[in-house]
């Protein structure tokens, strides 16, 4: 994994986070330090671990049933920024420009 190259602006875009230039600078420094620390994993021989070992899980299913949540004192819908007929109302997702 040695010396990770990352583009902080691209990562922040992927993460949907807007921060100031100053905050960005300190975040970048912290990330470098953490990535430097985790680089030690390079030294571990993992050649004998198979993909199969990582997939020992089983599916657990249950039947779906609708439950009416209690609404007092506040329902989830009351907490929406904006709602219409119990639907969440948000600004348009697609821009027209």
């Amino acid at each position: 994994m040695s010396v990770a190259k990352f583009n902080i602006d691209h990562l922040l875009e992927l993460c949907r986070i807007k921060i100031s230039a100053q905050e960005k600078e300190s975040l970048e420094k912290d990330l470098l330090k953490i990535l430097e620390y985790v680089e030690m994993l390079d030294k571990v021989d993992t050649s004998k671990v198979s993909q199969q070992d990582l997939k020992s899980h089983k599916n657990v299913l249950r039947s779906d049933s609708a439950e009416i949540f209690k609404t007092a004192p506040l329902s989830l819908i009351d907490q929406f920024l904006e709602s219409e007929n119990n639907y969440l109302k948000i600004p348009p997702i697609f821009d027209h420009d």
């Binding site: 994994m1 990770a4 990352f6 902080i8 990562l11 922040l12 992927l14 993460c15 949907r16 986070i17 807007k18 921060i19 905050e23 300190s26 975040l27 912290d30 990330l31 330090k33 953490i34 990535l35 620390y37 985790v38 680089e39 030690m40 994993l41 030294k43 571990v44 993992t46 671990v49 070992d53 990582l54 599916n59 657990v60 299913l61 249950r62 949540f69 209690k70 609404t71 007092a72 004192p73 506040l74 329902s75 989830l76 907490q79 929406f80 920024l81 969440l88 948000i90 600004p91 348009p92 997702i93 821009d95």
Partner: protein, 470 residues
């Protein structure tokens, strides 16, 4: 403590209401200096207590936690109460249902006094990352209580609750328990339902109790554990008999006694091992060869899962922040920039990076493989020993502000606790005494997966031996 208090209710020395009132009064007096609670549910607690007293009068019986006042970490949903996870992005969120553990506590009669402070989204080891306030260590108000369940630990240590629930992703119950002189139990992964716990890292998170005694931890664990159809990873555990100390083989991994560990902690753990040996236990040095990689492995897997879990917070559906942005994308970016503090941001960005195309194999997949090797180390060790004893933390409680500027130094406070999460094992902090400054010290006992009840029984035995031979 729980049994003694219930006896007092039974023989009329006190009532659930009187007991609740007593704790609420203490909270009013001292919460400001300790900073354990974010929200106090006075009305609700008193109403709950009244109901318990009424039921006791008519039925003459108390459920297992009836009338016992407790505190809940603020990342666990309690219906109708503000649940912030210590984050601005959830500042105005009111829980719309009870977490499974809360349902179980309520039906066992526990009284919920309030919601306790934590590092934002349980990310931290000092509770200094809370967006709202800094919790102090009741043993020394200039020091941290540990974290992320620092508010829960401080509440119990300062007698502002009989017991508390915390959550532990990499040590967040055991480390604050060690810093505050408490028993703190992280159950096996799958022993306690996570339904209604605000997720940090879903393959590592577990809810567990912080208490004054192992017996109390056992009572709370018995109440909250068990299979839940809303958490498909849960399993039903069997009870266990009381182990005999003379038959116990205890492993002491040499990798946990390395340079850098506080001398008084090492001496304390060694002294405990000597007492156990005197009592007849077979103490063996063992090796867990991948120990030194556990924290690095954790700091890839945990942020990866956190980045996915925290993707849902957009400030559109609940807990709207006062934002100036108007467009969809702008709201999203502004809310997450303003709503998340520095530590969640670090982990979201780091997690996004290790999962991104081109880096996934080198980081995330590599870490998953190392995780398997760490789990294998423990499986091999448990072929020859029944339990493993280690220090819980490398140092006792540190001063507020000491590690806040350097994330990696903060992460290192979890170096002895993360392995149990990576391997899904039950692990408990047991207070073993104090250092010269009067700060609590702790030892960690780790057991095989799903042997939680046996581990608790064994811990009770160790607690007794440690006290008797003091």
């Amino acid at each position: 403590m729980i049994k003694e208090l219930q006896d007092k209710i039974r023989n009329g020395e006190t009532t659930a209401v009187a007991l609740t009132q007593k704790y609420l009064t203490e909270i009013k007096k001292r919460n400001e200096s300790v900073g354990a609670y974010l929200t106090v549910l006075e009305e609700e607690a008193l109403a709950q207590a009244e109901q318990i007293d009424k039921q006791f009068q008519t039925k003459g019986q108390l459920a297992t936690l009836a009338g016992i006042p407790c505190a809940i970490k603020d990342n666990i949903l309690v219906f109708g109460s503000k649940t912030t996870a210590g984050s601005k992005i959830l500042e105005n969120y009111f829980a719309t249902f009870d977490a499974t553990v809360i349902k179980k506590l309520k039906s066992a009669g526990a009284i919920i006094l309030g919601k306790t402070n934590l590092d934002e989204f349980a990310m931290g080891s000092s509770t200094e990352n809370s967006a709202f306030l800094k919790t102090k260590n009741p043993y020394d108000l200039e020091r941290v209580p540990g974290g992320s369940s620092g508010g829960s630990a401080a509440a119990v240590a300062a007698d502002l609750a009989v017991f508390a629930l915390g959550s532990d992703t990499g040590g967040s119950i055991r480390q604050p328990a060690a810093f505050c002189g408490l028993v703190g139990f992280k159950p096996s992964y799958g022993a306690v339902s996570r339904f209604g716990l605000i997720a940090l890292a879903s393959s590592l998170d577990q809810i567990g109790p912080l208490t004054k005694t192992v017996e109390d931890a056992k009572i709370v664990f018995e109440t909250i554990s068990g299979q839940d159809e809303f958490d498909s990873t849960t399993e039903k555990l069997e009870g266990a008999s009381m182990p005999e100390i003379k038959k116990m083989r205890i492993g002491v991994p040499r990798e946990y006694f390395v340079s850098g560990i506080d001398e008084e902690i090492e001496l304390g753990v060694r002294a405990l091992l000597e007492k156990l040996q005197k009592a007849g236990a077979d103490i063996r040095e063992i090796s867990l060869p991948h120990t030194s990689y556990a924290l690095a492995c954790y700091y890839i897997i945990m942020p990866a899962e956190a980045s996915a879990n925290l993707a849902r917070y957009d400030s559109l559906r609940y807990a709207p922040l006062g934002l100036s942005a108007k467009g969809f994308k702008e709201i999203y970016f502004e809310a997450r920039g303003k709503g998340f503090g520095p530590e969640p941001r670090r982990r979201i960005v780091l997690g996004t990076f290790v999962l991104s195309a081109g880096y996934y194999e080198a980081y995330y997949l590599k870490a998953q493989k190392v995780r398997q090797l760490i789990a294998d180390d423990f499986s091999k060790a448990f072929d020859s020993v029944d339990f493993i004893i280690t220090p819980t933390t490398p140092t006792p409680a540190f001063k507020l502000g000491d590690k806040l500027k350097d994330p990696v130094s903060m992460y290192l406070s979890d170096i002895f606790t993360v392995s149990a999460n990576l391997a899904g094992l039950p692990a408990i902090n047991l207070p073993i005494g104090f250092n010269k400054k009067g700060l609590p010290l702790g030892a960690q006992i780790i057991g095989p997966r799903f042997h939680d009840f046996t581990l608790l029984n064994f811990a009770q035995l160790v607690e007794k031996i440690n006290n008797d031979l003091a």
